[in-house]
């Protein structure tokens, strides 16, 4: 690990070992990064005049944060926020209910191979597609409104929750599972008394975390017409009403902070 350099005077000085031990990999990565950066930065086509013009507008926006306008679009703000929160709650609940059976199916120590592969495929699809893309398709199929957002968020919850829950089930203590099985328990009893108590704290923690994520996502679904505060925010930006936009963003930040704080309390209480 340590590399020792022998200086001319014969005194050995210690040097920090490099982060990547193999020299060819170290220099190879360095050269690759430099070449990549050269081409990547070269492909940027920036209109600097437009950017310079924007500096003033950016300053105006920062000033708007000091003086947000909650009043002039108050009804839109309340309405959008209610819709966002309601979408968050319902989709998290439904998402969890669907995730649990899929997580059981995606745990390699519980499910037979065909079911395992099927559930893992659902998880992979849900994780690969960004919420907004799903929302666009859902709006096309179900029409505008919070229903599309609700379905989108429920679907997105599956990829997150089922994957992490399945990993937790796979890591569970085998002793307890075998003990319950030895009593002659049925499959459902086995899940209920051997598996469920072991993964419950993790499930609650993950659910709270997902509630938080779903709220943050619900704030942008409105951009594509899937309900929530996003539509109001988009309008505010389009009209350069930065004070209203600042008010909406501040509201989102405050709600996220409240959610994060309460979820940390609940998680501590569960563990």
């Amino acid at each position: 690990m340590m590399s020792e350099a022998i200086t001319t005077s014969g005194v050995r000085t210690w040097r920090k070992p490099p982060a990547i031990e193999r020299p060819w990999l170290r220099y190879g990565l360095l050269i690759f990064t430099l070449i990549y950066l050269y081409f990547a930065v070269g492909s940027y086509d920036v209109n600097w005049a437009r950017v310079a013009e924007g500096v003033e507008r950016g300053w105006k926006f920062i000033k708007a944060f000091a003086n947000p306008d909650f009043v002039s679009r108050r009804s839109d703000l309340i309405e959008g926020m209610t819709e966002s929160i309601i979408m968050t709650v319902t989709s998290t609940v439904v998402g969890i209910m669907i995730s649990i059976p899929i997580a059981l199916g995606a745990a390699s120590n519980l499910a037979p191979l065909p079911i395992y592969l099927f559930c893992r495929t659902i998880i992979a699809i849900s994780r690969a597609l960004h919420e907004i893309i799903v929302a666009i398709l859902m709006v096309a199929i179900f029409g505008f409104g919070p229903l599309a957002g609700f379905i989108t968020l429920s679907f997105a919850t599956i990829g997150f929750l089922a994957k992490l829950l399945a990993e937790d089930i796979e890591a569970m203590d085998k002793g307890q599972a075998e003990a319950v099985k030895a009593t002659g328990a049925s499959w459902l009893q086995w899940i209920n008394y051997a598996v469920q108590p072991q993964v419950m704290p993790r499930l609650i923690g993950l659910s709270m975390y997902r509630l938080d994520i779903n709220f943050r996502e619900s704030a942008v679904l409105g951009l594509v017409g899937a309900g929530g505060i996003g539509a109001t925010l988009n309008t505010a930006f389009d009209r350069y009403e930065f004070d209203t936009a600042a008010a909406i963003i501040i509201t989102i930040i405050v709600i996220v902070m409240i959610l994060e704080y309460s979820s940390s309390i609940i998680r501590r209480w569960v563990q």
Binding site: A40, S43, Y44, V51, G143, P146, L147, F237, I249, I253
Partner: protein, 273 residues
């Protein structure tokens, strides 16, 4: 927790909870279900159910239009895909420049002032994390105009909070003995940092970076929808012109790109740990 009740036949029956506790749990469930039903009514009221009943037919219709994907359109996708990759990568790199100092300021054991600077750093992290990268992009497109520069900065702004949060948690969990050993040699503040702290958090730092890069690839695919460049721009254009075969091709490309990036990220993280 265990409670042995005696029933009429005087045979003890095992129950998990006392009656009062059980009632309380039932009541909590009742409240929970009531809230859920109320929320569902709200959504239901705002839904045109006529469209929903029609949904299977429309879904089949879209599927029919979207297949097979227009493979020839691939030629026009390489450039936006390259842009998307750059937005994610340069954005991640840019976020690291800011996230590392913020993380050191926010960690309880390295912050210069726990009463003044730490709360500011934490507020900065929360702000960056609460705002979706699409909202950052929307904001930046309004300020500096459309293009991949806006997308890159949006990705960077969103990632600062994520990286800084995970990094400062890693800094707070380091082994104190090593830091004390370095301090005992009479090392300066910066020497303690580079010999005592940095080597300990390096693996976590690399892991977090690759993890966020992988998330950023996924996020940058949609930034084009608000004008911030990349493959999302083509997606928006194809959707607006109802060119479903192009839409399905783009979705397929995005899917493959995300799977590849996730695979790369998993390989790198396994190599580090």
């Amino acid at each position: 927790m265990m409670n042995t009740d005696t029933n009429t036949s005087l045979k003890p029956v095992w129950q998990r909870r006392t009656t009062g506790k059980q009632l309380l749990i039932w009541f909590a469930w009742l409240v929970f279900v009531a809230i859920f039903v109320a929320c569902w009514m709200f959504i239901s009221n705002r839904t045109e159910w006529y469209f929903v009943y029609d949904a299977p037919r429309i879904a089949a219709d879209i599927w029919g239009r979207a297949t097979p994907p227009r493979w020839s359109y691939l030629d026009k996708i390489w450039k936006p895909l390259w842009d998307t990759l750059n937005v994610a990568t340069i954005g991640t790199a840019l976020s690291l420049v800011f996230a590392v100092p913020v993380a050191f300021l926010a960690a309880r054991n390295t912050t210069p002032s726990a009463t003044l600077i730490r709360p500011i750093a934490l507020l900065f992290i929360v702000t960056s994390r609460s705002i979706n990268s699409l909202i950052w992009a929307l904001l930046l497109v309004a300020i500096i105009g459309p293009g991949i520069l806006a997308g890159t900065i949006a990705i960077a702004l969103r990632s600062i909070g994520f990286v800084a949060k995970l990094l400062y948690e890693a800094i707070e969990e380091i082994n104190v003995d090593q830091v004390e050993a370095i301090t005992a040699t009479g090392a300066s503040r910066w020497q303690i940092m580079s010999y005592g702290i940095v080597p300990q958090i390096m693996p976590a730092f690399a892991g977090i970076t690759v993890f966020r890069w992988d998330i950023n690839i996924r996020e940058s695919t949609v930034l084009g929808l608000v004008g911030a460049g990349g493959i999302g721009l083509q997606l928006q254009g194809s959707l607006n012109t109802l060119a479903w075969p192009q839409v399905s091709l783009i979705l397929l490309v995005i899917f493959v790109a995300v799977i590849i990036s996730e695979w790369i990220s998993a390989v790198v993280r396994r190599a580090i740990i």
